[in-house]
């Protein structure tokens, strides 16, 4: 799978990709990205620094254009 295919798969079904890598139980509100991140932080699956860098990417105009 090249990068473009991975991106297209993520766009079509982001939760499927997340579930492959992370343990996200049914009780988590999957429509709220912050709720997913909070669960991943609470369970130690990701670090605060990773979440901060993700937030930086989210605020990056270049990446915002890419996600349109």
């Amino acid at each position: 799978m090249n990068l473009l295919q991975a991106y297209q798969q993520f766009r079509s079904n982001p939760m499927a990709m997340l579930m492959q890598r992370y343990n996200i139980p049914q009780g988590v509100d999957t429509s709220n990205p912050n709720a997913i991140l909070q669960h991943l932080l609470n369970t130690g699956q990701v670090s605060q620094q990773q979440v901060n860098s993700l937030q930086g990417m989210r605020n990056n105009p270049a990446i915002q254009n890419l996600m349109k």
Partner: protein
């Protein structure tokens, strides 16, 4: 297959206990970063890991926010708001401070002489030097008389 080193473990634990007899491992809230946000709501909704405190700088208003989460993941996070206020610095005229030494109340100026005082003293010394020089010359001219008087004694 597991490995077990009983001697090493017991030695280490004894050493640790002797160095820190009553000290227990203390958990401290760690700094989780400093992040720019666009609104207070964004800061309030930001996910924070247990045992972390994240500081936010509001880009649209002069506010700083901190969101701190306790070590238990079920604890409610603590959200604090700080307003930034500009501190006015007192203006100091540096040139005046350097030149106006004699008006400075903190210094004892009675120990210092003015330049005019020094020049007056210099003139006085010159006059005295001239007088001494003239007296020497006069004494050299009067020397035969003094020698006569010395003889008369």
């Amino acid at each position: 297959m597991g490995y077990y080193y009983p001697n090493y473990q017991s030695q280490y634990s004894n050493q640790y206990q002797s160095q820190f007899p009553n000290q227990q491992p203390q958990m401290q809230i760690q700094n989780g970063g400093f992040l720019p946000v666009r609104s207070r709501q964004e800061a309030m909704n930001y996910p924070v890991a247990p045992g972390m405190s994240v500081t936010f700088k509001d880009e649209s208003a002069p506010y700083i926010y901190t969101k701190t989460k306790g070590f238990n993941q079920f604890d409610e996070p603590v959200f604090d708001v700080y307003k930034l206020t500009k501190e006015e610095m007192p203006s100091v005229n540096v040139q005046e401070a350097h030149t106006d030494v004699f008006t400075d109340k903190t210094k004892n100026v009675s120990q210092y002489a003015l330049k005019s005082d020094f020049e007056a003293l210099q003139r006085l010394v010159d006059i005295l030097q001239n007088d001494v020089h003239n007296l020497k010359k006069e004494s050299e001219r009067d020397e035969p008389i003094t020698s006569v008087s010395a003889v008369s004694e």
